[in-house]
């Protein structure tokens, strides 16, 4: 079967977004149909350990690609064992998130992923039972001092030179406004301590139109000008990049004198000397707090 299809560099047709808007219009128009879905706000399998077990299999087959075995979040999706869910905590919220996806994120609509079969309504509830069985009972007390983390981010740790949060900061690295809720804590720690281990979004971002990995690139133009920066997109023939001074450059590869790419991130690895464990904890507390979980 041709099921797996996650890959980087894929152009996802823009039309899909329009399709979504159209789909919303249809949902509004067909209010009667919507009512039947909304009628069930509670998980019919709530607290059913057997359903949770079946749901675990469904989770492994359908969700674990991004959310990891055990639902702890891989390099690609949120840690679902956290009590707080960014897109709603109630059963009905989880059902909606799974069934309809989250526009503008990598979370696809159920069954519309072009890979796999998708889940029946019953199977979605079973997955929710599974998630409930592994998630923390109460919102975790986030250790660390978020206010100090923010000071570090915009101050001595110089994160904001390259990263933006809620509109403030640099452009060379990924916008971190939603990263705290979208990635596991382990992943955040690794990204700071060893940013080259897995580049920005791991090796694939399932349902994005294309995944930006912030690979490092150095080009020398035909005239001999050298630019270093990150890859925004590329294909066999062209390169779209941002240099370290935040200038965009759009090249035909064949016309360049040289082009070198590296998976050594431009971001420095923050060791203990640059950022103590305590400061790192504060920084992560800040990241987890933004985007108002």
């Amino acid at each position: 079967m041709p099921r797996p299809n996650f890959q980087r560099g894929k152009l996802w047709p823009r039309r899909r977004r329009l399709g979504f808007l159209f789909g919303c219009a249809v949902v509004v128009a067909c209010a009667a149909a919507a009512v039947t879905v909304r009628a069930q706000e509670k998980n019919p399998f709530s607290g059913d350990a057997k359903a949770a077990k079946v749901g675990e299999s469904q989770f492994r087959a359908n969700c674990a690609f991004c959310h990891g075995l055990g639902a702890r979040g891989g390099g690609r999706g949120p840690d679902l064992t956290r009590a707080q869910k960014r897109h709603g905590n109630a059963d009905a919220d989880l059902f909606r998130t799974i069934n309809e996806g989250v526009p503008g994120t990598a979370m696809p609509q159920n069954g519309a992923t072009q890979q796999g079969v998708g889940m029946t309504e019953e199977e979605i509830w079973q997955v929710i039972s599974y998630i409930r069985s592994v998630q923390a009972k109460a919102p975790a007390q986030i250790p660390g001092n978020a206010a100090h983390g923010k000071e570090l981010f915009y101050g001595s740790a110089t994160c904001s030179t390259c990263h933006m949060i809620e509109g403030k900061g640099g452009r060379l690295g990924p916008d971190l406004s939603t990263t705290g809720s979208a990635r596991s804590t382990d992943y955040l720690v690794e990204s700071v301590r060893n940013p080259s281990r897995r580049l920005a979004q791991g090796i694939s971002e399932a349902m994005k139109e294309f995944s930006q990995e912030y690979e490092t690139v150095t080009v020398v133009t035909a005239e001999g000008t050298k630019f270093m920066g990150v890859v925004l997109n590329e294909d066999h023939f062209t390169l779209q990049m941002m240099d370290t001074r935040e200038q965009l450059h759009l090249f035909e590869k064949g016309k360049l004198r040289s082009l070198e790419k590296s998976r050594e991130s431009l971001m420095p690895a923050y060791d203990q000397k640059m950022l103590s464990d305590k400061d790192l904890q504060d920084l992560i507390a800040y990241l987890l707090g933004v985007g108002a979980l």
Partner: protein, 549 residues
């Protein structure tokens, strides 16, 4: 909608748009028929024309271009000296989401294709303007795996034939798109669907089913093209008392999978049709189905008149990596050697003697870790420790395989076999699960591994004699595009970044490319009209055609 069934107002508007009244319309039709207005449309595609497809290279009469499955066009107007001048001529938009996998047919100036959600259409191949459009009313509860796709039509006589996502086979009138007959192959609610283009042999429509994700029992069917009456069925999982049933543990054969979801090929000299099959179910968990699991992941040599099995060759025995063998089995003769070439999803390039079914050679064309040894015949054997585990086990190729359904091509001029290779390893993990009819039944999960390097891909030119890679064209990421070769010394392919590319067949040098704006999920073809050669490929929701200015 047929003209005669149109409401009066619509009919008037339709005719008015042609500048006619309803009185003039029959007169116009009569005049056109009487004068043999150009381009002359030969009404019938006879079985003989399909056998002699090489004599009419301006047409593309079946999915792979010819019965041998070579996807080779004998047209050479577009060639290595002028390919750089190719320009787009027209595009046709299905306006549908999802993957657009069709390979169009072209017969005497008319192009026939399929789109997502069982759309079908006939176009004026010169302008791209529709002649008719059809879309099946699909049941709301179908959940076909892997997209609501279709890869193309077959044609015979005055009908085109379509396999549907609800597992029907239907015949459409080639001139109007009207449904002539419609037969149910099996109950779609058990997980069956049809996505392949049928293969016409004599008066039979031959199809196979998809559904390896549901615990179906796969089969290949033949239907009378005139009536839709079923002539035979070959179950790809043998029942009790049949040879091969002993390769399944207990009752596991009942839900053994082995779908046949890629169009087969045909050797008229021996009257043998070659079909390939997919994974045993569940795909990534071998527990409960001990044995070789025949005829999953196999090449089948069948008698097209009866469906009788002449011989089989199984590529991946007792597979637990989803290594479907559903790649077009290409028929090639080299002197006295009568061969089948197949670059398999499991990463090996197989050369098989098609008179006996015996293996000639098997060489890796991509990174392989599931096998590190061969048996006495030279067939790769699976490593014991390559099976998926609960925690996950990294194996190459990954779940999407070293290649997949995208067509390869064999170029008789260079005598090279060109295939899309995918370099992607995955972590395979089991997800134990009970069978429930119509529900997904993978028994598996898979993950990208933590390799530092990204997944890549390549178009590889393989020498069938040595099994070696002659050259490769690197793709930035793995693509789902097939490959076309032409007598102009060219191979055409697409990439995941949206480029459609012409390469020199001898060297792999790129001569031309066009950015389609969406990933290519189809296999290209070529045709000619008015003496002008075109190359066509589907990407995004559009079918693009290219020609010299």
């Amino acid at each position: 909608m047929k003209l005669r069934t149109m409401p009066w107002a619509v009919k008037s508007r339709f005719l008015a748009s042609l500048g006619m009244t309803s009185l003039q319309f029959p007169v116009m039709v009569f005049l056109a028929m009487a004068s043999g207005a150009a381009p002359s449309l030969r009404a019938q595609v006879t079985p003989q024309r399909l056998l002699d497809s090489g004599k009419e290279p301006q047409n593309w009469l079946m999915y792979s271009g010819d019965y041998a499955g070579r996807r080779f066009s004998a047209l050479d107007q577009i060639n290595t000296s002028n390919a750089g001048m190719l320009v787009p001529k027209w595009a046709y938009q299905t306006m549908a989401g999802g993957k657009f996998e069709t390979t169009a047919l072209v017969v005497d100036g008319i192009l026939y294709g399929t789109g997502q959600d069982n759309r079908a259409f006939a176009l004026d191949a010169r302008s791209g303007r529709p002649i008719w459009q059809y879309q099946r009313a699909l049941p709301v509860d179908i959940r076909p795996c892997c997209g609501r796709v279709n890869r193309g039509l077959a044609i015979l006589g005055d009908k085109v034939f379509l396999g549907t996502l609800d597992a029907h086979v239907i015949a459409l009138d080639a001139k109007t798109g009207s449904v002539v007959w419609d037969v149910t192959t099996v109950d779609y609610r058990k997980g069956y669907s049809i996505t392949l283009a049928p293969l016409m042999i004599k008066n039979l429509v031959i199809i196979g089913v998809s559904g390896g994700e549901y615990g179906i029992r796969g089969f290949i069917d033949a239907y009378d093209a005139a009536t839709g009456e079923r002539k035979w069925r070959f179950y790809t999982v043998p029942g009790p008392g049949e040879p091969g049933n002993e390769t399944w543990e207990g009752e596991s054969w009942k839900i053994g999978g082995a779908p046949a979801w890629i169009t087969g090929t045909y050797d008229p000299a021996t009257n043998t049709t070659f079909w390939t099959t997919g994974n045993p179910s569940p795909s990534n968990r071998g527990e409960g189905r001990a044995g070789d699991n025949l005829y999953s992941n196999s090449l089948l040599a069948l008698d097209p008149e009866t469906g009788r099995l002449k011989w089989y060759f199984q590529f991946s025995k007792h597979d637990d990596h989803d290594y479907d063998a559903t790649q077009v089995p290409v028929i090639v003769d080299q002197g006295e050697r009568h061969l089948i070439l197949q670059a398999n999803r499991n990463g090996f390039f197989y050369v098989i003697d098609r008179t006996s079914g015996k293996l000639v050679s098997a060489n890796p064309f991509a990174k392989v870790t599931w096998s590190d040894s061969k048996d006495a015949s030279g067939a790769p054997i699976a490593r014991k420790d390559a099976s998926p585990t609960l925690e996950g086990n990294r194996v190459c190729p990954g779940a999407a395989g070293a290649t997949n359904w995208m067509s390869p091509t064999y170029d008789p001029q260079t005598q090279l076999f060109y295939v899309t290779a995918r370099e992607q390893c995955d972590v395979f993990s089991t997800a134990p699960q009970a069978y429930e009819a119509g529900h997904a039944y993978y028994g598996s999960a898979y993950f990208p591994n933590d390799d530092a390097a990204p997944f890549t891909g390549a178009l590889r030119a393989l020498d069938p004699n040595s099994g070696k890679i002659k050259w490769e064209w690197k793709h930035p990421s793995p693509t789902w595009s097939g490959v076309l070769s032409t007598a102009g010394g060219l191979v055409f392919t697409g990439d995941a970044e949206g480029n459609f590319i012409a390469l020199e067949a001898a060297s792999g040098k790129a001569l031309w490319h066009f950015q389609c704006g969406a990933s290519v999920y189809s296999s290209p073809m070529s045709f000619a009209i008015d003496g002008k050669q075109y190359v066509a490929v589907a990407a995004g929701s559009a079918l693009f055609t290219f020609a010299l200015p």
